[in-house]
Subunit: 311 residues, 4 copies
């Protein structure tokens, strides 16, 4: 049995991600009120995995997740899920668009529908809520007590809450996608598949001139393609950053191992956050000079060079 | 007269930044409800400058500001202000810490006091608000109608609203600082001072292998120190990013001009967001081989090489 | 009238290069006994051009030429000629291969036929001469006074001297080629043709870590292809080197001008040795981002950025 | 017993190098007429070591040695010797400077005294000989049969031959030094000393854009200092080069092993020519992030990351 914590309540996009994650089918699902809460339960052993958002194609990195993974007891990513994001404007039966004075939603969702809102409900002010699903649920349960008459949420959240949908597909960007990661304690590791990604957090040495360039070169010289780079403050002083990076390949791959070892030397500190199958399912393209075979051949050659007796 | 828009209402950290910005003294100050609103007024000509947060030493880049500057009609940064961030827990007279069931604040502020809150008011849930100052103001004006009994805000916001301070200095990180930028329409440019910064947004060509490394090399080969790098989604598809970058030097400096010209060639697109005096006031260290004199001498030498008659 | 000095006497490969150099047709040809002598006459104004060997596909760079161009009064390359190199074994009438006890030739030629000699005239010792043509000429004129009975030289040298050819095409490498350069005083410059090369000599700063890598990056970041790199001692101390480099493009090309200016800043010293049409006649391939148009557009963009009034 | 072949005859600078090589003391010394001959005897097993010149501070790399080591049966360098080079002008008793019509010497030696010769014996022509020592010996034995009356050679060669010295220290560059290498069959390897050098020959892949830059980066990213780079034609076609490189460190050093393995992957071909104590005796400076300890720690860290069970 694998218990999954997720960012709830029911009806969140995170729940949608969890429902589309095959291995979670038939397993217990535990809703949590925040990313921190979900990861705390995982670290504490109350659950065996957690699914949290890490990156949105419109709003960017999810700071809470990036920061929670970069510090505290070690956790590793063991999978990822991509969920297309569509928003609806939902309200209790009887409310019309022209009645709406205020709209409740999570700030990330609001950022993604702002253009639509300005042209369609220009009279409405924005009221922040803890999640899109909570905006819908509260509106269904206590319509009179809140400062808003409509919610921006996922279609499923409107349906679950029993709200009416006043407008469909109101996101400013078609094709918005959120990427979720499945997180575990570092007790096991997904098998390499040839279409893997690896996530790390790198902390620069402050006493070295090269900076970020020196870190990125470690990937480049080994033909490793970087798919995400997010800088996050180390929280120590203004201008002190660490880098959260995804790149193609698995820790068991030779070229990835070589890059990780170099980064371990070059960085002040480094956190390995797991290797896992990419949701895209696209095979990683490997330059023949960085194939496992090329690395193994080079190592055997070096061993033969070194094997001569001393004198 | 220079009219300044700022992220209001009164009592926000942005207002503190504005009050500490010398040139704004004695000028009209116009509070706005969001970064977007402040920049829209500037673009529309209703004000002559806007002051908005861009980066916090604990929470990182301010996405709304980064995105609003990176698109739409061109704007430029003409100055920056650093404001130390301290939070208080404030409530109407008579409320005690043990009475608190919920706390209202802006999500960025809540993220910075979460550790303190978990140990001191573990029973309290979090209620999001539009700003820290709004949390305080609303609590003072309508204490019964809100879902919270206390607010996390700046000391000045508690004072302005007439709330009592139940706890001082509750931020989890001492020395937290937020950096604000003064933004103008691109009609003028601060004079170089020798201690300047420049801000740009770079969009990668998708058809080039080098990627971010190739962009950063343009700074490195000219001895230019990068002080901030933030990746932001271009909003087109998952994994498509642009880079918001600050670096030392002024567009009028030779080495900066050379780097900008190279980036203009190498990038798919690029937005210049201004050169302005650094708040730190520290003189930029320049390697002699990248001084203005070295560039000018090299250009004169090339001119002499090229001046020979053809044949 | 253009007087040409060349490395003589008649019958040298250098003379062959001169004869195949169109502009020299019908002009006075002045044989000289060494590269130094030819360039001294050019520097002294006794001739208007000199043609000297610079690189052989088997033996490598010609040190005498590289060093003579890298120091002394400035000279520039204004053209290049490729000459296929074929050697014969030649002797006075009546001499048979089995009679040969010693063979005279220039050391560079001997190095190129050593394999053939070891298998065909293993009994013969080698006697160094000043040039291949001199070996043949002396043998024809004073067969008894020299320590050798046969010469290794160009077919034309054997013919000119009236020697018999005992063996044709005796070079160990088929397709050996020597590259000659036409050198002038820096009074004019060949017009760009789109298939040009440029030659420079770079002296590293001893106080910089990057070394050669930093120099080569100046070409790489501008998409400039290097076609020859030769290190030569600066003659000051063991391990102190300068670099003689050929690369594609003309000093009038924007990307070449940009690279030269950067090198001027980065190098301790630098000597420009001319831009001239490549003998290959192959058009230089230019990445669109390093085209003249891309550079000009970038410069105009920078000018517009800088044109804002100060404040 | 270790038999040493050297570039003879007696009185050459190579013999001086051999005499100053401690381990050769009391062992058989075998003079050979050329570098090729000396290395052929070593390859054939007739001797156990050979000592040959590889680099002169004024004339640069010794092509014959570089090419002979780069091809044929593998050999390795096991030591190096630096010999200060001083030249004398020597002649049979009774000859005065003003009588001299021609001077015999090896072409490399002549190149190093040309300035002196032009000002002191301007009337004299140059006659090439097989070595400086041979010029002296022949002049002493057959003064009438040669085309020259004086020789440029080492002081010891003049003394051995019984010639009188007409002028001392006639080299154009004070402090000229030639570097000799002790070469063995690849049957053993000098023990690391902390002040070692390694020599390799690298052949570029013709199908890769990076070229030489990509090869040099392998040293730079591991903090390895290159002390010599010599390009040599591969003899296949004009413009096809390999690179003979010396760098600091021993094949048994972690950072050197890592660089060699990378080069093995990146190069079309590569030849390892040995690790040996540097004649300078200066300890190699190692950045802590490239120390053996740093590499070992990184490898252990990777091993622990990889040791998790699959799933």
């Amino acid at each position: 049995m694998t218990r999954y914590a997720y960012l709830g309540p029911e009806g969140t996009f995170t729940q949608q991600a969890l429902l589309s994650w095959g291995p979670a089918s038939g397993q217990p699902h535990v809703p949590c009120s925040s990313v921190d809460a979900a990861l705390a339960r995982l670290r504490g052993g109350e659950v065996d995995a957690a699914i949290v958002p890490i990156e949105n194609s419109v709003e960017g990195g999810v700071s809470a997740t990036l920061d929670a993974l970069a510090s505290g007891d070690p956790l590793v990513v063991t999978g990822e899920v991509l969920v297309p994001i569509t928003f609806v404007l939902a309200a209790p039966a009887g409310i019309k668009i022209e009645d709406i004075r205020a709209v409740g939603s999570h700030s990330h969702a609001w950022a993604q529908v702002r253009g639509w809102a300005e042209s369609t409900v220009p009279q409405a002010i924005y009221v922040p809520t803890l999640s899109t699903a909570a905006a819908a649920k509260d509106l269904a349960e206590h319509p009179a007590d809140l400062g808003y008459e409509a919610a921006v949420c996922a279609p499923v959240a409107a349906q679950t809450a029993g709200l009416e949908v006043l407008a469909h597909d109101i996101g400013d960007m078609a094709n918005a996608v959120t990427r979720f990661v499945v997180v575990s304690r570092p007790e096991w590791q997904p098998t390499p598949t040839g279409r893997d990604k690896t996530t790390v957090v790198l902390f620069q040495r402050t006493d070295r001139a090269g900076g970020l360039l020196e870190l990125l070169e470690q990937f480049a010289v080994r033909g490793i393609n970087m798919t995400r780079l997010e800088s996050r403050p180390t929280k120590e002083s203004m201008g002190s950053y660490c880098f959260s990076i995804d790149f193609e390949g698995h820790v068991q791959d030779e070229r990835v191992g070589a890059a990780l070892m170099s980064l371990h030397r070059v960085c002040a500190d480094m956190r390995f956050l797991g290797s896992y199958p990419a949701a895209s399912g696209v095979e990683v393209t490997i330059d023949p000079i960085t194939s496992d075979g090329a690395f193994i051949e080079a190592r055997e050659w070096l061993t033969s060079l070194r094997s001569l007796g001393d004198h």
